[in-house]
């Protein structure tokens, strides 16, 4: 058994390498398709000599395959190159300084979603069709449907401007400044978790083995705790990986509205400014993270549920 698990893990790891290379290649090719001059950032024309100097400085006058080789080599040695627009900064510095903020925002939002959403789903499932259930499901549907920019705007308006409960409008410094963005970002995943857990629990409760357990006279609490809950958490685990990727990048809007110095704000401005190295660096980085997260989740899943291993081998 453990042998086949090991083989599965190794196989997945080996497959990761060409996929990462492919992502680097695709990103590189995509970026080259974008028109626009990274060195003309304002309406002011850039004199030819200055344009040439800049292209020389950043190696953009080399043939594309040289640039590609240099870039791939850079990525593999964890050097993402200099930013073309923020002239004094490298992509590595930008990642090092800003990525942890996005990670923290995404992580906290995920935590919020789990801590708030899962119990809500359990409560709703324990009392199906009660007011509690209606309330929880009302929340989860609305939480999912209302766009986060409206939620963020409402939050700032009520909690800061109207009621002044002590949260600042923006920034990412003390805990007070983190509450509103985390909740604004975490609401949709919380709603999703609540619905996911409730649905799976009700589903599991219909399964034959649970009915058998009931028939055997096991106490309700034990059934819920032991069987239903454990089985219901599996989809939550599997949803976690992709959700984390969503949370890190889904924070584009939240970071902008709350002026949080995360990676999302950089991303949008970098694409607009044709900061090729920043866009490529961040895209590759995000992709690798998602690839690794998927890998971990799939392996976890294979451990939890041996059937998948065979199905997917």
């Amino acid at each position: 058994m453990s042998g086949s698990l090991l083989a599965y893990v190794v196989r997945r790891l080996v497959w990761t390498i060409p996929v990462v290379l492919l992502v680097i290649f695709l990103t590189f090719v995509l970026m080259r398709q974008i028109e626009g001059n990274p060195f003309r950032t304002s309406e002011r024309a850039v004199p030819e000599s200055i344009q040439r100097n800049l292209e020389r400085k950043y190696g953009l006058n080399d043939p594309w395959y040289v640039q590609y080789a240099m870039y791939t080599k850079g990525v593999l040695t964890f050097d993402l190159g200099p930013s073309l627009v923020l002239r004094q900064r490298t992509v590595n510095e930008i990642v090092k300084e800003h990525f942890p903020r996005s990670l923290e925002l995404g992580g906290l939002a995920f935590l919020f979603a789990a801590v708030f959403g899962i119990p809500l789903g359990i409560l709703a499932a324990l009392r199906p069709n009660s007011w509690l259930d209606y309330g929880a499901m009302f929340f989860s549907n609305v939480g999912f449907a209302v766009p986060s920019f409206l939620i963020a705007t409402l939050f700032i308006y009520y909690f800061v401007v109207q009621w002044d409960v002590g949260f600042p409008t923006s920034g990412w410094t003390n805990w007070e400044s983190k509450v509103l963005p985390v909740v604004a970002l975490g609401l949709a995943p919380a709603a999703y978790f609540a619905r996911l857990v409730r649905g799976t629990m009700l589903e599991t409760a219909q399964q034959d083995y649970i009915r058998t357990a009931q028939a055997k006279g096991l106490r309700r609490r034990r059934i819920v705790g032991l069987h239903v809950l454990r089985n219901s958490l599996i989809p939550v685990v599997t949803a976690a990986g992709p959700l984390l990727g969503y949370l890190i990048t889904g924070s584009f809007v939240i970071e902008e509205i709350f002026a949080i110095p995360g990676i999302g704000r950089y991303y949008v401005t970098a694409v607009t400014a044709r900061d090729y190295s920043v866009v490529m660096g961040l895209t590759v980085l995000l992709s690798v993270i998602v690839i690794l997260a998927n890998l971990v989740v799939d392996i976890l899943y294979a451990v939890l549920d041996p059937r998948t291993r065979e199905a997917r081998a």
């Binding site: 024309a45 627009v85 004094q88 002026a259």
Partner: protein, 549 residues
């Protein structure tokens, strides 16, 4: 299945009601600070600079945010007052030779870096040559192209040519510790004012050589201005503290200037209202109507022109271009969209520019509220009108609204206007020059680099890299050449007036339609309003700022 229906209803109703409640509860809470009085005990303010400054290196900075901060941590040779006159600063005097081609600056004798090293003329020579050097790749190297040999040095390819020799030949020389001699390619009467630009600020050579690109990080940076860089958390905050040993430290009141970077206009206004920031440098147009009557709202003239360029190769008949200009109702655009009391443009050189009164053509084709009847009349004389107009914009929100208004105006002339939005980089690529064949009109603006109309009017020569209209007029080109060599102000303004007349006078070529002259809008606490000011080139001088009780 029954419960689903129930909570669907609840869901829909509650969403509706809560949003409705939000809608009705529009807020009106303004803080009632009172201005005037003596100096407050705590001289600390928080400014929202808007965006992250791309660079605090005077050689590399090319945007207003970077410039605003650099001005206050460095000591420019020359500053500009509210009327845009040159004022001695680090340079205690200057002298211009008879032919206007040699400028000699004398530095003050008490200039120091924060390390205690003296600031010398050699620092300037080295810094300027560094900015022009092909290795640095500075955007604003062209600021120096009026100096003998600068353009040649910048064009040098280090792999091929002998750049060192060209470097030596560049016309800037430290004669002694305090004397800097500059040789210009021609008389450039505006050169002294141009020295107020960030590009001409010196950097501390040992620091730059030691730390390379990272020299502007707070741990490394060496400055020579009234404030020091205290912290710089990228994309978040940039804090300045007073440098107690600065030459005129007695005249500086503020002990600390905290900087924030809130790019979202709505959030920034809310942060101001919540008391988190004391100055917000840009009020979103849509908030102006609500804030205009508060005592916090401040408005400044700004040397810049917002215009619509026309592709004269596509819209060939000047009559049609004049008709299109006449149809635009600027007053309505300003009152309803931009809202900051911008000045309806009557020429290209903006109001507030030295000599404006004699340069401005007061064009009959640029009536403030538009003249649709006269425009239709003109349009009826057009032989082969271009009836379908592709109007290109960049996708920043403010431009979209103006374009919709212009679209409505031009529709009345029987023109079908297709608005196309592109994002900034793509947009710049599309308008060239030369502009793409499928582009008939585009929007753009121009902000002064230095206060002389030449900075605006030289855009429209036939070989200008900023002329995206395909407009080419020999007479105009000649006038520009002539004006470049005319030190006398009155004579030069006369030449400028002739250029404006070619574009917007009686026989207007109308290669572009000026819409309005910019203004700058701020939110400022009443306690600092009196002393917090910007000049028309948007330079913020924090030295005189004082927080009053």
């Amino acid at each position: 299945m029954r419960f689903k229906r129930t909570w669907l209803w609840v869901a829909v109703l509650t969403v509706g009601l809560s949003l409705f409640a939000f809608g009705c509860g529009g807020g009106d809470d303004d803080e009632g600070d009172d201005g005037g009085g003596g100096a407050a005990a705590e001289q600390v303010i928080t400014v929202n600079w808007g965006t992250e400054p791309p660079s605090l290196d005077p050689g590399l900075a090319s945007d207003t945010t970077s410039a605003a901060i650099i001005f206050n941590i460095m000591d420019p040779l020359i500053t500009l007052d509210d009327e845009l006159n040159a004022v001695e600063n680090a340079a205690e005097s200057w002298e211009v030779s008879e032919d206007g081609k040699t400028v000699t600056l004398t530095l003050r004798d008490d200039l120091e870096w924060t390390t205690g090293d003296p600031v010398t003329a050699e620092d300037y020579e080295w810094s300027w040559k560094r900015t022009v050097s092909p290795e640095l790749g500075a955007d604003y190297a062209y600021q120096f192209f009026g100096i003998v040999g600068a353009a040649e040095y910048n064009e040098c390819d280090p792999a091929k040519g002998d750049c060192e020799a060209l470097r030596e030949e560049m016309g800037v020389e430290a004669v002694d510790e305090r004397t800097l001699r500059i040789t210009l390619t021609s008389a450039q009467p505006w050169f002294i004012q141009q020295l107020a630009h960030t590009s001409f600020i010196a950097v501390h050579r040992p620091t730059v050589e030691q730390f390379g690109e990272n020299w502007t990080e707070p741990a490394n940076i060496v400055t020579n201005g009234p404030f020091k860089l205290d912290t710089w958390e990228h994309n978040s905050r940039i804090d300045l503290v007073k440098w107690e040993d600065w030459r005129n430290a007695d005249e500086v009141s503020l002990t600390r200037v905290n900087g924030r970077m809130i790019t979202d206009g709505t959030t920034a206004v809310q942060a101001y209202e919540a008391g988190e920031i004391d100055v917000n440098l840009d009020v979103p147009p849509e908030e102006i109507a609500r804030l205009k009557d508060t005592e916090d709202y401040q408005q400044y003239p700004y040397l810049g022109t917002y215009y619509y360029g026309l592709n004269v190769k596509n819209i060939t008949d000047p009559l049609q271009r004049r008709a299109m200009a006449m149809a635009i109702d600027r007053r309505t655009i300003i009152d309803n969209i931009t809202q900051a009391d911008e000045v309806p443009a009557t020429g290209f050189t903006p109001a507030g520019m030295p000599g404006f009164d004699s340069i401005n053509p007061a064009s009959e084709f640029l009536p403030e509220s538009g003249d649709i009847e006269a425009a239709k009349e003109l349009m009826s004389q057009v032989q082969n009108p271009k009836t379908e107009i592709n109007l290109l914009l960049n996708d920043a929100p403010g431009h979209r609204e103006i374009a919709v208004a212009v679209q409505a105006n031009w529709q009345e002339l029987g023109l079908k206007v297709n608005i196309r939005q592109q994002e900034w980089a793509q947009f710049l690529e599309a308008i060239g020059p030369p502009p793409g064949n499928d582009i008939d009109a585009f929007r753009l603006g121009w902000i002064a680099d230095w206060p002389d109309a030449m900075n605006f009017l030289e855009l429209w020569t036939s070989d200008s890299g900023n002329n995206s209209t395909n407009f080419a007029n020999e007479e105009y080109d000649q006038l520009v050449e002539e004006a470049r060599a005319t030190p006398d102000e009155a004579e030069r303004y006369e030449l400028y007036a002739q250029m404006e007349a070619i574009m917007f006078g009686e026989n207007a070529e109308m290669p572009l339609i000026p819409i309005y002259f910019y203004t700058a809008t701020h939110l400022e606490r009443p306690s600092i309003q009196e002393t917090f000011n910007i000049n028309p080139t948007s330079q913020i001088d924090l030295r005189p700022v004082e927080v009053r009780e």
